[in-house]
Subunit: 433 residues, 2 copies
Amino acid sequence: MKKFNTSPLSGMQELLPTEQVVFDKLKQNISDVYHHHGFLSIETPIIERTDILLAKAGGDTEKQIYFVNKTAESADAPDQALRFDHTVPLARYVVEHNNDLAFPFCVTQINRNFRGERAQRGRFREFYQCDADIIGREKLPIAYDAKVIACIYDALKTFNLPKMRIRLSNRKVLSGFLETLNLTKKSAEISDVIDHAEKIPLEASREKLEKLGLDREQVRKVCDFMFVRGSYEEAERKLNDILDGNTEKVAEGLNELKIVTNLLAKQCEDANIDVDFMIIRGLDYYTGTVFETFLEDYREIGSISSGGRYENLASNFTEQKFPGVGGSIGLTRLFFVLNEIGLIKTDSENLPIDYCILPFGEDEYDFALKVAKELQKEGNVVDIDYNETKLGKRLDRASKIARFAIVIGDSEASSREVEIKDLETGEKAKRQF
Amino acid sequence: MKKFNTSPLSGMQELLPTEQVVFDKLKQNISDVYHHHGFLSIETPIIERTDILLAKAGGDTEKQIYFVNKTAESADAPDQALRFDHTVPLARYVVEHNNDLAFPFCVTQINRNFRGERAQRGRFREFYQCDADIIGREKLPIAYDAKVIACIYDALKTFNLPKMRIRLSNRKVLSGFLETLNLTKKSAEISDVIDHAEKIPLEASREKLEKLGLDREQVRKVCDFMFVRGSYEEAERKLNDILDGNTEKVAEGLNELKIVTNLLAKQCEDANIDVDFMIIRGLDYYTGTVFETFLEDYREIGSISSGGRYENLASNFTEQKFPGVGGSIGLTRLFFVLNEIGLIKTDSENLPIDYCILPFGEDEYDFALKVAKELQKEGNVVDIDYNETKLGKRLDRASKIARFAIVIGDSEASSREVEIKDLETGEKAKRQF
């Protein structure tokens, strides 16, 4: 017999049923909250045209993409591939169906994406992303930025996590600030330095900036800038201390930040909300609000949700303008990390079955079915065990998956009274069916 | 600007939000019912090793498989591919995790599979299958066959469909019957004829059987056999009329059919349950019970769920024996078909939002958020519209997505009393927040 490797492919998360039930619960919670905030669910195909997916790629995306070939067709030019995020398919969807959608289009996608990243512990090649986006036509008021962030925050709250901190910035502030320093041309490189500053010593960031050709004063100002954080008022004051002159862009960015922080304060009462100019969220794409959410006491695990405002969702596919704002929870990675640090439990506390019913033999099947139906009607998850092995072995199986066991012999079937055994405590209770 | 084709790839179902909400509801219903019957949810990766997927393929499967290539890796020998069903990954899962599972393992998989079939209307290349399976170790009592069928029937009942008919057979009966005719060697070919008999005239089936070399008497008997249907008792009587002598296989198959029909009669009270020897379910794989479910008045759409018993789930991957029984609802196709014949509605009756709140301007955001929060707490789906366009246009959007609209101006915000407008009837009601 040929020997097969039956482990899942590297980079794929595969859970046992007791873990899956926890994962599914978290996913359902996110979905429910998004839904209650008015986000409509859509589901785009996992396979898309390669040219759609790579219309704006470059960088890692192209290296990480999974191409798809049908044997029957030519394998030379793979024109189909697996999506690597929800945003590109969403752009295609909005362009394709825009006449049938009501804008602003509040949309959620909770599904798997695929990236052939270097396999390593805690990094996944197939992963759930739980996206919430709001797409406008031509215009999208800034209040929607707060709506997305508050919705994602509410979803995370269902995880019963410790205190969260929402860190907010606005890319227009950075742009305007770099204008005042005559550094607009280097804004991509400088953004990249700020984006990575949190994980390295300040001195290393300084050196990077010097290498980019910034003079000493510019380096000092950029470093001061990226450490601006606090309430909106604090951030505005600190920024004004650094700023030489003012620009329309800075004013616009600050005004947006003010509106968003105000609205968030009303919606996320129990979060710490910081304006924090170190938040960048990668190089291009975002054009206004950017945000990340952290666990206050577990900064080391990184952001647990993030997103921002983009000027134009579908600029690669259409001349029409669809500004949007969105955010995402990377559930597969988050589940892995929270499980590792013990903030979610996937052990036997999560028994997937409420009642396991064990009829002795065929004669008791009738009554067992009746008991099962009644318990199911009450909302319980009920398993009937038809095994013909020894009762001890059957109870052993029951205790692995269920909270209660009900053994049904002929006396139970005739009296219609059963004993409900709590499989953890051993306690017993009678009940008539 | 490059012109992109933004339609989904051929063979992919892509729904509008108002359709998606119906689809998601059906999927959730199936999942809930499976779950309440004690089936545990698992989720295997969409990408698997090619050798695992093709360990037992042949036939169409290999032609329809989607191979997956990472650019960075060699494209010559695609060793990864997309799963085409849930059964092969389940076999791998059970072998890989068997020490951590409690057997019989009642398991459900509700997810997408991929087959590059010839694209045609109503045929999908990416499709949801809602599988429920029960896997035993070494042995699996026959009562589980009824459990799977009843569970799937209960799931279909949540669709509010007209009367259903469950058609049951048992492959052992056919095997035993062919033994008595000395036709065991041609059993695959004969099964194939019976499998296709329903869609062609009897004369054509007769000709096929003659071409296989059956003599006139054998042809007559096989044709009589495949038209045996009715209650278990009727079927047994009709079969005995045809049968020359008896065999152990026939007796075993009949006994299993009797147990399964008896148990089903108790669990699926409002279904028509038929023993029907024309049910085959393809060539290999199944070894005992086979079933299909039909809509009594819509036979032309074919079976709406199906499945059966297999002797050995993972025979390609291990020497251990895992007998199983399972069934599946092909949700993507079923949704398409039921929508076409009008048995499910995806029009505006299914407005995804309960309340759309329309604050006049920033000053009313506070109160709008308060109203939204309160309505959400009551379980409602609430959208806040922050658009700055004219009220008429905003109400127009609301009426496309929501049942009720609440406009909030300064008088509402100060009096805390709002008018709730029913967007269909135009009726208005006051409420204090």
